[in-house]
Symmetry: C2
Subunit: 160 residues, 2 copies
């Protein structure tokens, strides 16, 4: 029986990180959670993935202490998925990913995306994260990597 090699016990911390959050959906779920989403349906609608795999992903993220389930928040008898401190700690990773894309990708359209914001990744210059009770948890400003000069103007044109 051939088992996929696990990187959990790898000596390299990078490999261990990848083992925990190195797949697509996990990081996108965390991104959404950082943007304030907390309900199963919110993630599902936002990410457009099948419910079964979302359920599995959420479960493993909870297992890895990246998310926690809170009993409720509105009236419903269901669960909220909230980030733990460890989960909030991936924020710099997301910023790094975003800046890399910004620096080296052609944007698929003319929109000068600067950072994700609460409404589905539309242009903002800074990303700020607030806790439920309004405290500022984290903030990041765009520090653009040098890019081929005159490539395109930034934040000049509105999304068409």
């Amino acid at each position: 029986m051939v088992k996929r090699t696990s990187l959990q016990d790898n000596g390299c911390p990078i490999a261990r990180s990848l083992d925990a959050i190195g797949d697509w959906w996990s990081l996108l779920i965390i991104r959404d959670a950082l943007l304030g989403r907390r309900r199963f349906g919110e993630f599902q609608k936002s990410l457009g993935l099948a419910k079964n795999i979302l359920a599995v992903r959420l479960r493993t993220l909870v297992d890895k202490d990246i998310l926690t389930t809170a009993p409720a928040s509105d009236g419903s008898a269901y669960q909220d998925y909230l980030l733990t401190p460890k989960g909030r700690g991936v924020f710099p990773i997301l910023v790094a990913l975003r800046q890399w894309s910004e620096a080296y990708d052609e944007s698929p359209d003319d929109i000068a995306t600067i950072l994700v914001d609460r409404d589905e990744c539309r242009p903002v210059r800074t990303l700020e994260l607030y806790s439920q009770d309004g405290r500022l948890l984290s903030a990041a400003e765009t520090t653009l990597k040098p890019r081929p000069a005159g490539k395109r103007s930034r934040l000049k044109s509105a999304p068409r």
Copy 2:
């Protein structure tokens, strides 16, 4: 026919980054390349993955303009895989991943891993990247996230 959803044209730059380098091996290959590895066999021995999938990974990384193939470097008639500027640009992502692991993971052993170094992720305090001709390309110092006090001492004990 059901196709796996591609994130290439996703409006979110984070999603696009993940589409490019969001899998295990790609990032680990880039890590190795940053550490100076350039030959097929070096990657294969270091990462311990099958040669066929290494070949595929290398090819797609070249396609995505993250690696380039240089005709030769030693005498052999084969190819070197070198990082492009875009490839070197993922360095901050690796640093972020590493710091996250450092901050929130239990280390599997007592070794106070600080940053990857050229010899298979053994403890160093800073990671510096040099080009082939000796110029310093990039450097990062460990900026540790707050961690439960007195957890363990850092860099006190030598790897046993």
